[in-house]
Subunit: 476 residues, 4 copies
């Protein structure tokens, strides 16, 4: 049984990549593109390729370098799409890996999906009524089935037709024998961008993948936009109007790599600003600012910059940490977190410390880190979180804990502070968060996990009443 050491964070579900380029080894470029997107999914990976006639796909469980240990698809190709995936243990099966590759009346089709359809269950039931069978539990299979059933003449039309039926979050890369297609849902929940690589084109979840393969950023795909790429270039088509843009705010807080730029906003800059805002909001006094590495570091630097309190590396992360098949001894106090993190005594001993992390999900890890710092001699630990309390689950492509596992769904801030044993605790206000993401208007972001304002259909709970934290963050 595999024990995942990173256990108290929300999980991005997927990263996608596509390339159309006659001068490139497209399978290899996709490999490195997925390598750059590995943080978006570590459970499985896959690459599909075509030479214009035949398609081939290779998929497997594990990290990108594990899945392709024996080599890449060998077909000499000029179009490829790829996918990395994280998912909960239950559905983490070989048969759920992507890209999906099917034969249909129009030939072959391969598709990779980042996001979550909120009406997948209904569509699936409907399609089953019409005689469809499903071999996986992934949304991609739903989408390819609707595409295949469309009576429209061209693949572009079929895709557009199919998108009328689906709701929720979807960034897609689709490959036919002739074309590479990119699609972003009308709300723009999940990112997708376009790059230029020599004479060819690249689609990727994040710009860091463009940088890694040496492609130049061209632009983000617009919500409700479809781009069709073939030898004649890139054609853009709008398949839906957007009355409510809703880019996921958590991409800026935690998911995306800081070197990516999403919808015009540098992730690094957003996090740095969150730290600065946190400093202005919290006004904590201390000897040093430290971060919970690596995701809290940029905000911690912002906090240090704004407050003038020096930044130091008070916690050191084991760089080789990863998956392990040996379970830590759970009888040992804090064993789990000590495997991953260690306090730097010479930094924290005798010091009051402001500790910056990006988010708190269940709170158990935070509590262990606070204790570790105090054991190492910190005189006080003031915890700053660069996001508001998470009170509501996400239905748009993040693998969230059920709401009852969210500490902020059942505890007040002061209760949380006591639970984690910090001397102070401050969450970034929603207003402060929005101020930090300074290139994007707050109304075009999805903040539902903080304020229960779901911009699109939700399949489940969706009940915002009786939530003690709903309005609290905005008090600040």
């Amino acid at each position: 049984m595999l024990y995942d050491i990173h256990s108290d964070k929300w999980r991005e579900e997927c990263g996608i990549f596509g390339i159309f380029a006659r001068q490139e080894n497209v399978a290899l470029s996709t490999y490195w593109g997925l390598y750059a997107l590995q943080h978006r999914g570590q459970e499985s990976a896959g690459i599909a390729v075509t030479d214009g006639n035949v398609m081939d796909v290779q998929r497997g469980m594990g990290l990108v370098n594990e899945v392709f240990r024996q080599g890449l698809p060998e077909l000499p190709s000029h179009i490829a799409i790829g996918h990395v995936r994280y998912s909960t243990t239950g559905s983490s099966l070989l048969r759920n890996t992507q890209p999906m590759l099917v034969n249909f009346s129009g030939g072959q089709l391969s598709l990779a999906h980042n996001g979550n359809l909120t009406n997948a269950h209904e569509i699936r039931a409907e399609l089953e009524q019409k005689g469809c069978v499903f071999q996986t539990s992934i949304d991609s299979e739903v989408i390819v089935n609707i595409i295949a059933r469309s009576s429209r003449p061209t693949i572009e039309e079929k895709v557009i037709d199919s998108l009328q039926d689906v709701e929720g979050a979807y960034s897609l890369v689709i490959m036919t024998e002739q074309k590479l297609i990119g699609v972003r849902d009308p709300h723009g929940f999940r990112p997708l961008c376009l790059g230029r690589l020599g004479d060819g084109w690249v689609l990727a979840s994040e710009t860091c993948a463009l940088d890694t393969v040496g492609a130049e950023f061209v632009r983000d795909i617009e919500p409700g936009e479809m781009v069709i790429i073939d030898d004649s270039g890139v054609v853009s088509r709008r398949f839906a109007e957007t009355d409510r843009r809703a880019g996921c705010v958590f991409e800026y807080i935690y998911f995306a790599r800081p070197d990516s730029v999403i919808d015009g906003q540098s992730v690094y800059q957003a996090r740095f600003n969150m730290g600065r805002t946190l400093a202005r909001e919290s006004k904590f006094k201390a000897d040093i600012v430290i971060s919970v590495p690596d995701s809290g570091t940029t905000a911690a630097l912002g906090y240090s910059h704004e407050s003038g309190i020096p930044f130091a590396e008070g916690l050191m992360k084991n760089r080789y940490i990863g998956r392990t098949f040996i379970q830590p001894d759970q009888k040992k106090r804090d064993m789990g977190v000590r495997i991953k993190l260690n306090a730097v005594t010479s930094v924290v001993k005798g010091k009051s410390v402001i500790m910056v992390d990006d988010s708190i999900v269940r709170g158990t890890t935070s509590g262990k880190i606070v204790r570790m710092l105090k054991d190492a001699g910190a005189t006080a630990v003031h915890m700053c979180v660069s996001s508001p309390p998470i009170g509501f689950p996400c239905y748009y492509g993040i693998d969230t804990s059920a709401r009852k596992e969210l500490i902020a769904a059942s505890k007040q801030v002061e209760e949380i502070r006591q639970f984690i044993g910090a001397d102070s605790l401050h969450y970034l206000s929603l207003k402060g968060l929005h101020a930090s993401i300074d290139h994007i208007h707050e109304k075009t972001l999805c903040n539902a996990c903080f304020n229960c304002d779901y911009p699109a259909h939700t399949p489940g709970e969706g009940d915002c009443s009786n939530n003690k934290f709903l309005f609290e963050p905005s008090k600040e």
Copy 2:
């Protein structure tokens, strides 16, 4: 690259197994059932199970003991089906492994198939026109799609409905959350039998699998019959009339295990009789009768019995032979066959030898064995083949070489004799073959590979004219 040492034989494509038993570990029984059917397919294996609510499936490439090296499906279950498969390299892919497991409007369905649908291509095209997508290249996917599209109310009706559309060879085991279903096509090309295990029931391609799991043979499933097994017992339904039974004659010649009984005919007895008939037909004189082990041995014993010429083990087989990733040195004369077989000099030296084998496909291996015997001192090698010349490909579930690779499709018996370097060569006549299978009427067997008399639709060549051997065997 894997080098298969057994290279000059036709290949059975599949073996299937199913079990419904509340007192058994059904996954384990299926494992051992597939173990017993391993000779019917060595490229992939799979087991699907259900506890009445949930289904799980585990599939992989390799032998049964390799695929389940890490364990069996863990779901505590009372129904299971299993599959072993051989296939040509091209389509030997992970995604083509069986059993197939799907969700459809009626719940979950798992299916394993032995045989070959001759109109799969047409149905597939039709279904694609109706919006179906296909993720594999196996017939099972075609069948589950037709089942799922049936408007009939019960699963039995749906299956029956679907079978109206398909042609060719199919023995099926189908599992729903509640039932185990066995189906045999109206011609009865491929075998399927029913056994009793305690309070439960077993379906298997061959009786040897019943023996292995400790089940008692009940009866063969009839061509055109469907059996539905659940807690209330076994119900039989006839879904089609048969005007032409056509059990595969090659099961008796080579495919099935000699300890199996198919449609009332002991395979062992049939082979023994073939040897006796061969002796009467060929009237060869020699010092000893030997076999090409292991498949030729039973017929050789029959030959010895009839002729009074003593049987001896003139060729010894390496018991550990199997797949290897190291290629034999092809520059070396006969390296390939020497890895597998070795002449027993003390047996053959100075002797004239009658060598019995079950069939000749390309003839290259036979030539090498003849040379090996002569190198070991045999004074003469008279080759006897316990089947008529194979002149026509099979479309009903055997992985046959293309017709141009069949030596008997382009060469007369005398030419073949010269090619393999034997002193004499005799093929069993078709009449003699039928006489040997004494419990089954020749009109209820499929002999198409010998006489081009295809009992059902064929997708391909199907042209019997201009074949020099077509009528020859019956001359004898």
Copy 3:
């Protein structure tokens, strides 16, 4: 945990192979040589090679084709030695694999050993007193240490020097950067033969390995002989006089492949003769003679030949049987044996049967087979064993059960018959055994496991008194 289905036989401990040939791919030839010797050891395999300057070795657990799945040693070489090994689970460790490869004052040395040194423990203790360290528990490490400590100038002298100290059974292949050396102990317990391959030379445990690689048999290495092979050809040196040749009689009964010839005696012929002698001794009447495949078959044919009772295949063996990680359901009666063997009902039903097997160790498997035959309808089962009762353990290279596990060490023949449920039971007499091995004088064989007459030093029990079977076989 691996479950070995072949569980009630004595085990040969090793097979060895060596080659010196400038025109051959020696690593590849060694691979195929080991393939042919696979029956002598299935737990680990290894190949060492040299190009005259550098040595390389590759070793691993598993069958030959598993160990070298990723390829053979790549060094372009002209000398190679190889080893296959069986051993009890306890010591079946990666670090005990052979060939051993060491650096010593004379350069590099690689060595592979078949047999068992009876004073290894004493030498090991002595060497440890002199400061030696041991990293494995295999005898090869003892031998290389004595060789390395020899003060003699040449490697041949060092080897001869070292052999003065060791007692017991040893056939060795030794490789230096320049030479290939073969050694057989003064008693000649384990076989070793020499072959010619083009301009080069081959050493192998059995002639079947020569046949497989295409080498011509030259002669057996004599007990007490060392052969030194290099570019100038083969030089023979006698390093010890033999007052008592003692070739292992069990090689003829069970271990060796029937197509091998050992010390001038065809293994096949010996087994066939054993069957004939058994027929004359037992005088059983029955409808058919069957064998426990595969090892009992040749003797069964001899029995049939002598008695005139027809031979038939009453038991069929699963050809794909091997190692499995799934344990058979032990609650099921006879599950273990049914996985491996199945009765052919059409052969045995209503018949009285003479069943020939090569040996009985614990007797449990024999009992299950007898029951299986009766369940299939055999009216009587007369068991014939082509060896005398095994009453004493082997100290010369066979992995024997402790004496208390030997059924014949504690039970009379009649008791054993009752234990296995046979209608009659006859063991081949020692005299009959010797008569069957007609090319070798009985005084030059080791029969210690039957008569406690150990031809060389024994480390252990060695007490022949109070053994009820000691004289019994000679009564007959």
Copy 4:
């Protein structure tokens, strides 16, 4: 073929760990201890355990979590030692993994070694002359052989005796059936420390391993000290006088984890100070200070602190980077470094940048990073290196490039600056380095790689003449 993405750094050769504790799962503690020391060796790992009677060892190639994927040694034990290892490809073989486990006259002994014996070759030759054989190419085998040959009565005496012969660098953990022994060479080249875990004791290369297993730091083992741990506690013995302490200065610069404390000096604090000193020495002016992550970060923070120039994350590292079997496309400019690092455009665009790295070996990677920053818009890149130029190879346990690969061995600083394309380049002076390591006197450090002042015997080149950089650093 495995491609290592981290390619332009010196490599620590090993990490070691030992534990004696009756209340702990010592195999599990060793596992996590090795996990914490993984940065000291990623090529192989091993754990040996004993229960007081029997010893067992498990070793393999790969990361700790890969080697023990199937589980830890199962023997219930109270003593264990472990080892992680990096080594050059050539000798990176399974048989060179540690800990070594041997039988000798005193029983069993297991040993793991960090360091490099400079007279191993001579001792090995001497021992071979005395009849020793060597199965590996690791120094541990040399040491166990000398220990085993010692005539002294106790294991402690034998170890002390053996250490009179060896020269060079060695930190050792040794395990007998009864005792755990720790040894550090008289120069103290490589670190070794002692910790307390409940009633038991722990030895480890670095304190970070103590922290991870929950042990409390007690003290460093002294150069020339041996500690013997058994049920009666810890006994210290001095086996050699030290006239020249020589702790490896590179542990502070790059090898050790920043959260470790070695010989009283916090590694973090040393690196922070190096950054401060660099700032004082270089006096560069720029908009921001950035680091080459992760190893350059602490020094960069020190630089920022001293200079007042803000620190920012200008380069982002792929956290999932590791080993890959797919080779980057080498035709692509900078592909290799882009896989690992990416510039954060929003941070560096339009800015002049001070980039801090810990060392320069060949200089190729530094050049690519400088170009990456300029491509991202940096107006100037001033490179600061927190160590002096490396002009001489290490013979004491670091896998160094040959001297001709060291850019500083053949190029002046200005030439190097041009080679890497930086606007300025400053190396920390040796004096500045020593000032930064403020808790240790410079005379007790080994700086040979910078100034050719080898504190102990060297086997090789050792020629300090004619080296242009020899005196340069001290100019500053």
